[in-house]
Symmetry: C2
Subunit: 346 residues, 2 copies
Amino acid sequence: MSTDPLPRANIKDVAREAGVSPTTVSHALNARGQVDAETRARVERAALKLGYRPNRNAQRLRTGEAHMIVLLSSMPFAVAGGPSRLGFMMEVAAVAAAAALDRSLALVLAPPMETGRVPMELLDVDGALVIEPSAGDANLDYLLRRGLPVVTIGKPAEDPAGGAAMPPYVDIHSGQTTRLLLDHLHAQGARQVAMILGSAQRNSYLEGRAAYLDFANAHGQAPLLSLVDEVKGENGGREAALAMLAAEPGIDAFCVPVDAFATGAVAAIVESGRRIPDDVMVATRYDGVRARTSVPPLTAVDLHLEEVSQQAIALLFDHLRGDTATRRVDGPAAQLVPRLSSARRS
Amino acid sequence: MSTDPLPRANIKDVAREAGVSPTTVSHALNARGQVDAETRARVERAALKLGYRPNRNAQRLRTGEAHMIVLLSSMPFAVAGGPSRLGFMMEVAAVAAAAALDRSLALVLAPPMETGRVPMELLDVDGALVIEPSAGDANLDYLLRRGLPVVTIGKPAEDPAGGAAMPPYVDIHSGQTTRLLLDHLHAQGARQVAMILGSAQRNSYLEGRAAYLDFANAHGQAPLLSLVDEVKGENGGREAALAMLAAEPGIDAFCVPVDAFATGAVAAIVESGRRIPDDVMVATRYDGVRARTSVPPLTAVDLHLEEVSQQAIALLFDHLRGDTATRRVDGPAAQLVPRLSSARRS
């Protein structure tokens, strides 16, 4: 949070780099006026080197064309794709796209790519919403380097390297949400609660981990925590749960915020010959298709993503208009959605 | 299908209308060169009148910027929004956005708007995917008038007025899908099968209706068909089912392809004191959150939307590149997903 984002290169920077006048830069890049091929090539190289693009904001304001914003998930395909496809990101997308259109913003969708990273440089956007970025997220870094307005859903993880300024965000209170789930499992009678989290430097994991260690300490329980690489998806959750159950057979509940990992944990519990919830309870975070269609259905939380999405678009709209005073918006508190997976043993 | 779409106004048309040279039009609209205020205003009025926009395609090809396509649902908010939000359109969107990015296309999401119609004129897109358009769909008409490449998912309804050429489409075989559901209900023992469809001029309804009338005729059953305005949403389905059950108490199954209407029909059956599936079976089309989380879960079909979405993006990509030979792509056949709502009485 110590330095400002890199200022965006302007037409004068390109002119200086190419050794020509700003008018020549404009003509060269817009195929107008008389510019010889060699000069045009030199200008194009300079523009590419400096990451210059014409001020589309001004163009769009003049033509009445919609500003373009992009919605990005920081999660890899293994946890955000597949059966989670109808999940968190798309729920945000549906509300955010409508809220954006109401403000003459066009929302471009950049879902996790099975084939690799999002080709951000092709998307000539005016701003971005990024869902729960981890530290060093390449797309977020690209956007901040370009000096584009960015809002994140969930507090951005602080980059230990401390490169760019932290973008404004909607706080979704990941620590409180984790406590809500853990306290519920305890109230239902669980006394050996294990936790599976992602290993990425993602703020929700950091807050979740701190909440779990506090919980274990408060209840005099040894922490049973496993961190799993997100790219392993369901099977990562399954393998972690199998290993934990083998090492500590007395585990009577799993708190698994990542729903793909929770699906894997459910499989592991069943494989180990245990019953849900009678032997082991399970709770996850996002109340999506995975939680609802699990057998038995999983206790989860309502994150009020409709309100979160609307807050995020409103915040991004302010920043696009140059009103950058608000750095943090207080999102709604999550509410428990208790289901059969954590029903108290009779 | 008799006439070509209106040709898009070009810079020469604007120049003629404004009584200036094409170069002056270019300078006026791009704020370049010396153009006096009065001439600029005249050019802007002419451009507005003719619906002219600069050839962004050429600009984008030159700059390497992504082409923009928009995904539109033709369904009103009452059936496509709310609990259906994670539904058909968003499932298509997730796959289509990734398939589009693989081809350097940016997918803009235009979900059904609670506050009214999509402000299409603000979205400077290069092409569009439209889901199951009804006859006279305002967004589709706008796109075709602009001469933009459009692909529809599901055969477009033929406009009785026969205005524009029919866009190319991915056939999702709505007649076959309806037959699949009806034959299943019959095989499960249903002998008085009622049907609830939307009243819009949407091809899936027209094919579904024809399939139902054939089915009723083949089984010597009087048709029990109700057409409901989509804007009525769940309650439209509920009221239709209540009225049908009152008029024909012997109904032992409902085939309700629109999932929001199916949710309403389930409520009506329970309200009437009947049990599902023992007294009345229910089947719907889209296997989404509504079908899966209904009590009991609803028999539906797997439309293979992942494959459909990829076919649609590939077809649109061909048309964007000028390869317009293919007018129809054969989508995958739907597969039955039998659930408790149509389990045979023991």
